[in-house]
Amino acid sequence: MSDTPPDSPQRADQEPFEAAQPDYQAAMEDSLVLNLDGFEGPIDVLLTLARTHKVDITKISILGLAEQYLAFIQRAHALRLEIAADYLVMAAWLAYLKSRLLLPSTDDEDEPTGAELAARLAFQLQRLEAMRKAAGEVMERPQLGQDFYARGEPDPLIVDTTTEFSATLYDLLTMYAGIRERQGASTLQISPARLYSMDDALERLGKLLGHAPDWTTLSRFLPEGIGDDLMMRSAIASTFAASLELARQGKLQLNQSQTFAPIYLRARQEDTADG
């Protein structure tokens, strides 16, 4: 794979690459191969190979370089090193390139010629090499904080900031109205209904009973001056309930001739048995 036909045609742009290597270089190659993990991909390997062979990158022989690369991969195989796929793809591509360079060009115009492919690779290598050199030159420049300095004790920049708050009276009133509304909802109260209680009725009935030895209608015992309908109804109900309670205690007697007829009541008569 790595041997070049001795009588292969050379083109003007392809300087013959040094095929025969002195021994010290072979040793160096081995260390390159063993350092496979240290490379940043096949392009990096190609550039390193070119540098190792002290090839002027601007006059690079792509054919020679392709052979170096293929030898490198073979050596890695021989050393049973694990080779990532992209290195093998490059090897296949370079083998293809080599065949295109060595064989007479086809007339297929859709396919780039071997020379064109080689030029593309050369451009890529030169461009990357140029960028690496540029990176080095940039880093060699004087650097801020290392070789030249900014003002060490800058004056604090004084910025007088005036904050203008924007709020309208409308905002303010709406907010306050909102608060009062929330507040109103939270203190909702039920005011007590005014009703005539059972206790009141008992007290009143007890007091009045002594003054009523004869049958008297219940309505006569109701408190006076109640105009309110609800109050009146509650007074009737509680007075009737009170009369039942007092009858149970044996303090009064009740009489109703028929359903819905007026209810009569009087204080208990000891000598009469009916009630």
Partner: protein, 210 residues
């Protein structure tokens, strides 16, 4: 290095250091034979008319902005800021209930007032402390400021519309009570006096500095 170069070096050192340097500090950073004292005087003279002066601070030397330029170096900036809802609510309560303590504001709002809220109102210069309440802890009471009245175009706090007026203006929308039994047995809200508040204490009941 000739004197011109040494002067340049001295200038660069004084420019780049983060603190004033004594002649001894400078000597440690300059070639041995440099006439530091002489060069400092010369450099001071060169900068005498400039926007930056070389000045001696105690026994140390430093570049400083020319003092006459100080006022021109200040940058004035106006920033528009919107008040948060919390701040506006607090402000409204202070306006309607002043003098009012922070605890009372919280009771009315129903939430605790974050520290920043009063700060913002103070920053806006819309509120001011008015006195202290004669209650345990003697809390500060707050009221609104003249700046507040200016900003909202009010002659006095009394010009703030009362509850009935807010209602009439449609700002306070009171829904009808629930569950009518009779007119007397109706569920009603707590009575809200039309006068916005009854001040708990007269203004500055207890002076602040007490």
């Amino acid at each position: 290095m000739d004197r011109f170069e040494l002067m340049r070096l001295l200038e660069a050192i004084l420019f780049g250091t983060s603190e004033p340097l004594s002649e001894r500090d400078l000597a440690a950073r300059m070639p041995d034979d440099a006439d530091i004292a002489g060069m400092l005087e010369e450099l001071r003279g060169q900068y005498a008319n400039r926007g930056v002066h070389l000045v001696q601070v105690g026994a140390r030397w430093a570049f400083r902005t020319a003092p006459d330029l100080g006022p021109h170096l200040r940058l004035k900036k106006t920033v528009q800021r919107k008040m948060s809802r919390a701040a506006l609510e607090t402000l409204a309560i202070i306006a309607y209930h002043q003098p009012v303590t922070r605890a009372e504001i919280e009771e009315i709002r129903g939430v605790t007032t974050s520290r920043g809220t009063l700060d913002i109102l103070l920053e806006a210069e819309w509120i001011r402390p008015r006195g202290r309440r004669r209650t345990p802890g003697r809390p500060v009471t707050w009221g609104v400021s003249d700046e507040f009245l200016d900003h909202f175009g009010l002659e006095s706090v009394k010009a703030l519309p009362g509850i009935e007026e807010l209602k009439a203006a449609g700002l306070l929308d009171r829904r009808p009570g629930l569950g009518l039994i009779t007119e007397e047995g109706q569920l009603t809200r707590e009575e809200t006096p039309d006068e916005p508040y009854e001040a708990v204490e007269p203004d500055a009941a207890i002076p602040l500095d007490e």
